[in-house]
Assembly symmetry: none
């Protein structure tokens, strides 16, 4: 389990120009907004969380205890252009929290500043020790996993929204976090993409242990089974999660894999079929509970029409959890059916 993180947060956006890469900051605002005082960016950043921009000193004065690196670029490294702002944050009295692959202390300027200011460098992307090799043994209780046609299109958000809806309906349920933002929100979990690949499925087994027969674990998905870089993470998580139900997350405006223009997005049907095929290896009863659309780029009417047409075409509930409504209720009901 991760350390108790010092809160509230100042959210750091770096020099990000793609909202998709700022999903940590955006997720924290949505799901832990009462614990975020503002945002900080450096030159070139075109993304905002909607919170007020603050200097580290202003954030500290507003009560912030830490700066969270709220962006994840490809490779998970700390940008050179970020360092001055991160040092300034420590000098203003903030600890640094990072979920990147690269350790904060691996940047000598940060290690030196932490030493000098007495601030902490907190890397939350550390898997627990002694993860076992997976056994494939069927566990008790019920599991839902969000999967996707790509990265960064709503798998965490959908899992959080389904978990919230399950609890609202009186279902005993836990949200199981598998990425840095989810772990920051949930206060626990396993950073699945940081697990050594031989133990990937074993880590997923550890994350959703045996439970009461009526209990649901709602597990945050990672990557996509068709992603040319991250499919290993997705498959280990699928095998180890042995979900009874999965929900496919999709952005209807996206035609290609994020950051990889040479790769067309797989269709929803391809993801359903492959997830059933691969997932049935550890749970023969696996089924698709429906589809979660990320319709943020569309107006209400267009979004409703898109989802309604897709629902008719697939014969499954299709909903945008951000929009909620009857479509989302139908998705929740079908997952629990």
């Amino acid at each position: 389990m991760p350390t108790i993180l010092p809160q509230p947060y100042l959210l750091f956006l770096g020099d990000t120009t793609e909202a998709g890469f700022a999903k940590t900051a955006l997720g924290l605002v949505d799901w832990a907004g009462d614990r975020c005082v503002g945002e900080l960016a450096v030159a070139g950043c075109t993304v905002t969380t909607g919170l007020p921009r603050m200097s580290p000193a202003q954030a500290r004065a507003a009560g912030a205890q830490s700066l969270v690196i709220g962006v994840a670029n490809q490779g998970g490294v700390i940008g050179d252009s970020w360092i001055a702002a991160l040092v300034e944050a420590m000098e203003a009295g903030l600890d640094l929290i990072s979920g990147l692959h690269m350790r904060l202390a691996a940047v000598s300027a940060l290690a030196e500043a932490a030493q000098r200011t007495g601030r902490r460098l907190i890397d939350i992307r550390t898997p627990p020790p002694s993860i076992p090799v997976a056994t494939g043994r069927k566990r008790s209780g019920n599991r839902l996993l969000t999967v996707g046609t790509d990265c960064a299109l709503g798998k965490k958000y959908t899992a959080l929204a389904l978990h919230r809806a399950f609890v609202a309906r009186g279902v005993d349920a836990d949200f199981r976090a598998t990425g840095q933002t989810g772990i920051m929100i949930a206060g626990g979990g396993i950073p699945m993409d940081a697990v050594v690949s031989d133990f990937e499925a074993g880590a997923a087994e550890m994350l959703s242990p045996d439970a009461e027969p009526r209990h649901w674990d709602v597990i945050e998905g990672q990557g996509s089974i068709y992603h040319p870089a991250y499919a290993a993470v997705s498959l280990g998580l699928l095998h180890g999660s042995q979900p009874d139900v999965f929900v496919v997350c999709h952005d209807p405006a996206r035609t290609h894999v994020l950051g990889l223009d040479g790769f067309a997005l797989p269709s929803i049907e391809e993801v359903i079929d492959l997830t059933v095929h691969l997932g049935s290896r550890t749970n023969r009863a696996i089924r698709c509970g429906g589809v979660s659309f990320n319709t943020g780029r569309y107006g209400e009417e267009t979004a409703e029409a898109l989802m309604s047409a897709e629902s008719d075409r697939l014969g499954l509930p299709v909903a945008d959890p951000i929009r909620g409504g009857a479509a989302f209720d139908a998705l929740v009901a079908n997952c629990l059916a």
Copy 2:
């Protein structure tokens, strides 16, 4: 870059009394005999590789650059009775190479001797630093990957035999190792099961870089795409290797996944279909070159009959590389076709 090991080797047998525990040393003599100058054992050892016994100083004089721990005892630890010989090897000018679970530097006498003599302690289970995230970019040259219906049924052996046959036919080819024994044989490689899962496909991309148009990389497979614990390793390796050709390795006597009795072995056709489906994500031209049977448990006639029937059924060459012969020639020819 993948690790490059100092060669030639002095093979260390410890105090082994079971040939089964000296598999690494015996494999090195079979596949890299020209890069092994001799063997070294301590009191109690009853196993030999057939190479001359040498002291570390004699091996050094014969050109050895390193001592390879060629045995794996139960538990994967370094025996107390081995330490004096290992220290003597470093004093004679040899680096130490180990594929054991236990780190060489965890033995204080070895860490101290390495410091004192300036020799290296090389743990080949450690992946190289700074593995990039996969890009999915198509690389030049040709690639063959061995895949399997399970673990431990001949993927390394098949890749080595195919590489040898390619070279014998005048094909410019490299064997690309992904496990500890293979890495020692090749003198380099990446231990794919020890790579963090987010970088699994990236490591595979690193392992078989751009090459001349007629060049072949013959890549050692790992695990199985249907394995409930290790499929993440297999899928990352498949995506990153972007093979033009794959060969399915199978043990016709095996009905269930090794060590997991609840899991039936997938059929060869299932493995072919799923490998084509998943592999086409990074190489649309992927095809199955044939099947490698491990027929060690059968007599010659039964083995031939089994392979012939399977070849007719699948419409593909089926051969046991240990038996060789016309069937293996047909497999080689079809891979290169």
